[in-house]
């Protein structure tokens, strides 16, 4: 069983990642519940996907302090959702900051380094990913979600292993994007 929280900014691909996770879990005959942010909040706002894999699941949302892993597509969003992490849980975080429009307007662009330092202070199991570099190697900015999922699997923080993740990609991702996503998994496991 695993409680997995994915967080980021609307449009980064968290929903697709949570769907793929759910599919991979279903393939193992496991029970899954997910819950996502849909609607107005999606327009450039913070988005969170809860993925719960267990025999018996009640709440559609992960309770505070219960997530086995937080997969954050953006450093500030990892910090924002850290209260969901259970003691000893893992955090996989993309190192690239996305400043909100408000920051550009007020000139108060925030510092990603500060967020990453805070995460280092709070988490024993922290994986910081250079999302941009890994995506460049894969040849597509759209590879970010799979890279982060694969890093979480590598850290042993998902209820899903590498082979199961690759199986889900083979069965669920349209053919023209399949190889790119499989490359993303290989890259994460290098």
């Amino acid at each position: 069983m695993a409680d997995i929280l994915l967080c980021g900014i609307g449009g980064q691909g968290t929903v697709l990642a949570s769907k793929l996770l759910a599919f991979a879990a279903m393939e193992q005959s496991k029970n899954v519940r997910t819950s996502e942010t849909i609607g107005m909040a999606q327009r450039g706002g913070c988005v969170v996907s809860h993925v719960r894999i267990a025999e018996q699941i009640d709440s559609p949302l992960i309770p505070f302090g219960c997530a086995d892993v937080i997969i954050a597509f953006e450093p500030a969003e990892a910090v924002r959702n850290l209260h969901y992490l259970k003691p000893g849980g893992a955090v996989i975080v993309n190192n690239k900051a996305i400043p909100p429009v408000t920051a550009s307007l007020s000139g108060s662009a925030y510092n990603a380094e500060e967020m990453l330092n805070y995460l280092q202070l709070c988490c024993d199991r922290l994986v910081i990913a250079d999302g941009d570099e890994l995506c460049t190697k894969c040849g597509s900015p759209k590879a970010l979600n799979i890279i982060l999922l694969a890093l979480a699997a590598k850290a042993g923080a998902l209820a899903i292993d590498r082979a199961e993740l690759e199986n889900a990609i083979n069965k669920r991702i349209p053919e023209k994007f399949r190889q790119m996503n499989l490359n993303a998994v290989s890259l994460a496991f290098e």
């Binding site: 900014i9 609307g10 769907k19 759910a22 599919f23 279903m26 496991k30 029970n31 899954v32 519940r33 997910t34 819950s35 996502e36 942010t37 849909i38 609607g39 107005m40 909040a41 999606q42 327009r43 450039g44 706002g45 913070c46 699941i57 009640d58 709440s59 559609p60 949302l61 309770p63 505070f64 302090g65 500030a76 910090v79 924002r80 850290l82 209260h83 992490l85 259970k86 003691p87 400043p99 909100p100 429009v101 408000t102 920051a103 550009s104 307007l105 000139g107 662009a109 925030y110 510092n111 500060e114 967020m115 805070y118 202070l121 709070c122 900015p141």
Partner: protein, 599 residues
């Protein structure tokens, strides 16, 4: 039987299809939209599915079909039921022949809505049975039950999921084998039955009141209204709150008396009395209004029971906002006087950036708002907005939405404002889908009553906010075919609007000129800013800032607040992954430093 991973809204649609639904009608609204979309997706061609022009139309179309014996499903969000309330109230008296389920999605939080209104109250008000599913799985099986009850009592039934049920996904056991087919018998004329009339309404009212105790007893025997656990300190809940309470009780390792109410109206009194007779105190945990709480207090009074009921009314539970397993856990642990699970203490985090939702990069609404703002610079003007993506025009730096009330109200609010302040130029901004849903009558009102407003139709050729549903202006239908597109300009012309101009908002100079021309004349004038939503059109390549020409004045950022333009390390750049190449910023730059991306 097979196991599928379904969103709650998909489960509702599939459940309705397995219950033999013949017709599905609705109007988009978060969190209900995917019910109808899924019905269209799963349709084998035997079901009629339509996006109606608004919720009132949807309910009436379904009512007609149900008169003729069809099983019908109507879908909308909670505020949509306000629009459909006229037919709803009368239909409760008239009743139906074929089963009719009205799925009305509530939105605790609210996450994407104008209000936190509680549809369980609407059910009480209209005297209609209501089902309140606690999970996507329960929603799937319960929609069949709702159809059965609808036909058993010849009444429309309200089905009321909330956001976390609608948008939650679960692995669900579906039962295709027992799927039903319903063959409508056809409409049987009977004026006494189908024509609403004062004398028959009096008799129908009596029937409705007599039905209450019968349904209440019937509901008390339903397994989805359940009583579990033991002890004098009980908990009562309903809907998704049941999931939160179960999660909390598991974390606390407690098993108190637990009443789950799935049919808040008619209230299953016998089942609730069973609990009240064995306890001294009850904690009620429910989202939105204290519906179950008031029913329990009423029952205690009615039966002279000395049971203390805690909940929203005595401040035990928060009066507004969304529930969670965490809030349930803290309420229950304080109620049972036990320790809540200890949370990990962490150092104080650094200041987090605020991320309010904004118009997408390349959104044509940004250009439309900016053109009006430029044209009206220094003039006294009020901008009335409406419901849709364009409500986000309120954000800085555009700041172009002064009022927003409900669907269609921009057109009429502007008229009221103008009656009191005739020296102000009153603009009303309305999207294409909202215009068809409830804007047209407001325009007729303006022309007939000879007022003075400028109507701005933001025509992006789709219903964008809810996920790009078609509407009368797009011509596409949910049965996969095309009908004649209804022309907004021809409609406005026919109503008698004095001038109607159609402009591409991404042409800034022409747009500003059009607004100035309209502002210089009187009467009801209209400008249609027509440009498809970026989500339904092809992007140009990203615009680029020529760093040799850029003087770093940041005018592009300060004027339009596009999320693709970012200031970092003292310079301004365009984030290529976000930019749509709309070219608005290149028309604003005073140094011609931004090169618009190619088509």
């Amino acid at each position: 039987m097979s196991k599928k991973f379904l969103m709650g809204n998909e489960a509702i649609a599939l459940g309705a299809i397995h219950a033999g639904v013949n017709l599905v009608a609705g109007y988009p609204g978060t969190p209900s939209t995917e019910i109808l979309e899924s019905a269209a997706k799963f349709n084998d061609g035997s079901i009629y599915v339509e996006w109606s022009v608004n919720e009132k139309a949807a309910l009436e179309v379904a009512a007609g079909a149900s008169y003729a014996g069809a099983r019908t499903l109507v879908t909308m969000k909670q505020v949509g039921l306000n629009v459909a309330s006229d037919p709803l109230m009368s239909l409760a008296y008239i009743g139906i022949e074929g089963g009719m389920v009205i799925a009305v999605a509530d939105d605790p939080g609210p996450i994407s809505s104008q209000t936190e209104q509680d549809t369980r109250h609407f059910a009480q008000f209209a005297k209609l049975p209501v089902f309140d599913p606690s999970s996507p799985d329960e929603a799937y099986s319960m929609i069949r039950l709702a159809f059965e009850y609808s036909e058993k009592y010849k009444t429309p039934v309200i089905f009321r999921p909330t956001t976390r049920v609608c948008h939650g996904c679960a692995s669900i056991e579906t039962d295709e084998e027992s799927a039903k087919k319903n063959i409508p018998a056809g409409f049987a004329k009977n004026t006494l039955r189908w024509v609403v009339f004062p004398k028959t309404s009096y008799l129908n009212h009596i029937k409705l009141e007599q039905r209450y105790p019968v349904l209440s007893d019937d509901f008390s025997s339903l397994s989805c209204n359940s009583l579990e656990g033991a002890g004098e300190k009980a908990i009562a809940c309903g809907g998704v709150s049941y999931s939160y309470v179960k999660e909390a009780l598991c974390a606390l390792n407690e098993n108190p008396t637990l009443l789950k109410i799935t049919t808040p109206y008619p209230f299953p009194e016998k089942k609730a009395l069973e609990m009240l007779c064995r306890c001294k105190e009850v904690l009620v945990l429910e989202e939105l209004d204290p519906v179950i709480e008031r029913e329990l207090i009423y029952l205690c009074g009615k039966h002279g029971l000395s049971v203390t009921v805690h909940g929203k009314l005595d401040g035990f539970a928060p009066p507004a906002g969304e529930g969670s397993a965490d809030s349930a856990c803290s309420a229950i642990s304080s109620y049972l006087s036990i320790n809540a699970p200890v949370r990990t203490e962490r150092p104080v985090p650094p200041m987090l950036p605020i991320r309010p939702p904004v118009l997408c990069a390349g959104c044509p609404h940004r250009a439309s708002f900016y053109a009006v703002k430029q044209a009206m610079k220094g003039k006294k003007a009020v901008f009335s907005g409406d419901i849709g993506c364009y409500t986000l025009g309120n954000a800085m730096p555009l700041d172009m939405v002064d009022t927003c009330l409900c669907m269609g109200a921009d057109v009429t609010i502007a008229q009221g404002l103008h009656r009191i302040e005739p020296d102000t130029v009153n603009f009303s901004f309305i999207g294409d889908s909202t215009f068809f849903a409830s804007g047209i009558t407001g325009v007729i009102n303006a022309v007939y009553n000879q007022t003075d407003i400028i109507l701005i139709v933001l025509d992006n050729s789709t219903t964008a906010m809810t996920g790009h549903q078609p509407h009368p202006g797009t011509g596409k239908t949910m049965m996969g075919n095309y009908s004649e597109k209804i022309s907004i300009e021809a409609l406005l012309d026919a109503i008698g609007v004095s001038s109607v101009e159609v402009v591409n908002p991404l042409d800034l100079v022409s747009s500003v000129d059009a607004v100035k021309r309209a502002a210089d004349t009187a009467g009801v004038r209209a400008i249609i800013f027509r440009r498809p939503c970026i989500a339904v059109s092809k992007s140009s390549s990203a615009s680029v800032i020529n760093t040799d020409k850029c003087k770093n004045c940041k005018k592009c950022i300060k004027e339009i607040g596009c999320p693709a333009i970012v200031a970092s390390d003292g310079t301004v750049r365009i984030e290529a992954s976000l930019c749509f190449g709309c070219g608005l910023c290149s028309q604003i730059c005073p140094f011609e430093a931004i090169e618009k991306g190619g088509e």
